[in-house]
Amino acid sequence: MDFAISDEQKRLVDTARKFTREKIIPVAQKLDEHGTFPQEICEQGFELGLMNAEVPQEYGGIGLSCLDHVLMLEEINYGCAGIGTTLAANNLAAMPLLLAGSEEQKKKYLGALTDGPIFAAYACSEPDAGSDVAGMRTHVRKVGDEYVLTGQKRWITNGGHASWYTTFARTGDVKDRHKGITCFVVPRDLPGVSVGKKEDKLGQRASDTCDILFEEVKLTRAHLVGEEGDGFKVAMKTFDRSRPWIAAGATGIMRRALDECRRYALERKAFGQAIAQFQAVQFMLAEMAMKYEATRLLMLKAAWSIGQGKLDAIESSYAKAFGADSAMAVATDAVQIFGGYGYTREYPVEKLMRDAKLLQIYEGTSQIQRMVIARNLLSAVQ
C-alpha cells in the first residue's frame, strides 16, 4: 500500500493551493455575503484547468483522474465551498455524456466546455423529486422522430449561467418509476428553455442554484444521451463518480476549520492561559483532525477505485456520507472554539458551518447514502 501522491499530483495540489490562497480566500466572504457568482474566479480557474478537470484530453480537457480531481478540489474548498461547487459543476454535467454519450455529442458539448470559460449544468432534481430521483415528473412526448420536453427542474447548480443542460425526463408514466427515464442534452438557446427563480440559500451562497423550466422544448435524436429508458442508470452512475467530489468539499472545509481553530486556540486566552491548554479544546481539535483524516482516506479509496475501473457505489457513498456528516460536526465545533467571535461574520468559521450543511443534502442526502450502503450490503449476501 502506498499513501504517497505522485510529483505530478503534488504540482496540481500546489497550483490549486496557490490559486485558493491568492484568488479565492481574499474574496470568498464578500461573494458569500452578496450571493455573487464567482465569474472572474471561474475564468481564471478555467485557464489553469481547474474547471473541466475530468474531461479527457481528446475533447480538449486535461483528463484528470477522479483521484487527481479530489486532491485539487480539497484545495479549492479550503477557500470556499460555494466556489468549489461552482468550479466542479461542469464535470457533473459532462459525466452523463462521458458515460453514455455519442462521440459526436462529446466532441460538440465537451469541446465547447474546454474551448472557453462557459458553464453547463446537471438538471436532475425537481420540486417534488429530490432524494427520490425516480419520482420525477418532467416528461417527453414523442412526435415522429422528435421529442417534446416539458417539466420543471429545481436546485440546479450553475443553472442560471449554463449554456447547456444534461437533463432527465420520463418517456412513460410516473408509476413506471425508474423505468422509462431518459437522459438528454439540452442547449439553453432552444425555444422553451428558461431559467426560473434563484434560490436564496443558507450557505454556499456564491454558488448559483436555480429552477430550470422546459416548456414544449423540441429535441431530436441528436439530443438523446444513451438509449431511451437508460436515464436512471446514467444518473446513478454519474452520482457514483461525483460523490467523491463532495467528500473533497468536506475535507477542504474540515482542514480549513482545523487550521483556523489551531491558530485561534493558541492565541485566545481564558483563565490566564491559551484556550489550547484546556483539555476540552484539545479534545475537540483531536476529534476534528481524526474526522478529517478518516474522510480523506475514504475519499481517496473511492477515487482510487473509480480510477481502477472497479467502481463501487458503496465506497462513494461511504466517503460522501461520512465526509458530509463529519464536516458538519467539525464546522459546528469550530464555531464553538471561537465562542462569540465564531458567531459573527468577522471570522470565517460561521460560513464553514453554513456551507457544510449543504454537503449533507445535495447529490443524495446523508439518508440516501445510507440507503445505498444498506442496499449494497444486503444484496451482497449470497
Binding site: 419520482g135 436564496d200 443558507l202 486566552k269 479544546v281 464553538q336 458567531y343 443534502i361 439518508q367
Partner: protein, 380 residues
Amino acid sequence: MQTELTEEQRQLRDTCREFAARELVPQAKRWDHEHRFPAEAVKKRFELGLAGVAVPAEHGGAGMDNVGYALAIEEISRGCASVGVTLSVNNSLYCDPVLKYGTPAQRDIWLKPFAAGDKLGCFGLTEPQAGSDAAEQRTRAVRKGDKYVINGTKNWITNGPVADAILLFAMTDASKGTKGISAFLVETSSPGFLRQKADEKLGICASPSCTIFFEDLEVPAAQRLGNEGDGFKIAMSTLDGGRIGIAAQAIGIARAAYEEARDYAKVRKTFDVPIAQHQAIQFMLADMATELDAARLLTLRAATLKDAGVRHSRESSMAKLYASEMSGRVTDKAVQIHGGMGYSKELDVERHFRDARITQIYEGTSEIQRLVISNALLKQ
C-alpha cells in the same frame, strides 16, 4: 413531585403561544432578513406583562413566578428567537438583579419602568478579552468624590443598540481580582457612553447587539448596585437566572423546528409515500420529541428551585447545557428532514438552525456550563 402547571401558568403559556402564532411567526423571517429590531412586537409583548414576568406587581412587573417566565420565553422564542432573547435579557439580566440587589430608591427609578415595559435594559459584562473568563474585567471605574469615572469596552451587548439602561460591571479595585468588581446602573444616553454599529451575526439577526466604549463616563455613586466589590457575585447569581431564560429560548427554537419538520414529513412524498412513513424519519422525530421534553423538564426544575429561593447554579447550568445542545441537534435534523427546502431561505427552518447555535455560546458557553456542573459535583 409536581409536574402539573397551575392555572395561572397555563394561562400565561397559552396567551404567549397565541400571541407568537399571531404576531411573531408571520413576520420573524422578514425581521431576520432585514436585520430589523421589531420594536412594535416588543412593545406589544410588553403589554402582555412580559417585561418583568417574575417581578412583583408593586415594582411594575407581572407578579408571576419563574416557571411561568420559562414557559413564556419558550412560547415567544417558538415564534421568534430574537424577540425571545430581547425579553430574556430584560427580565433575567436586568430586572432580576435590580430587584434582588437594588435599594428601594433604586428600584423606583431603575426597575419599575423596566419591569412595566416602558423602558428596556441590557447587561454589560463581556469584554473583547473576557468572554467565558468574566473575571478578566479590564473596564475600570475610578471613584472621584461622589462619582465614578468609567473607561473601557464591552462587547456582544444584547439589546445594546436599543436599551435605555445597562447593568454595567467594572473593576473598582484591580488588586482584589473578582472581589474588586462592582456593578452600576447607567443610562445609555449618558455622555461618554458610545455605542458602536450593530454586530453582523450568523443568527438571531433581529436581536441587535453591539460593542460599547466608555470614555470618562461619569456615574453617581448612588447608581452603584450593591456594595463595592459585589459585582462578580451579582453577575454570577444573575447568570444563574439568565441561563433558565436561554434554556427556554433554546427549547422554543427547537420546538419550532421540530413542529415544522413533523408537519412537513406528513406531506412530503418520496418513494411513493409520505416521508413520515420511512423509519429513518420516524426515529429522527422520536429523538427530537424526547430530547425536547427532557430539556423542558430540566429547565422547569431549575425554575422551580429559583422560585423556592434555593441555590440552583448547577441545575440552571444543566438545563442551559442540555437545552442548547439539544437545540443544535434538533434544528439540524429539522433541516435534514426538509432536504433542499430546508437549506432555502423560503422556509423558516434554516433560520432556526442559525438561531439555535448562539444558545451554546452566550450567557456562558457549553464549556462554561460543564465547568460549573463539574465544580459543583466535585465539591460535594
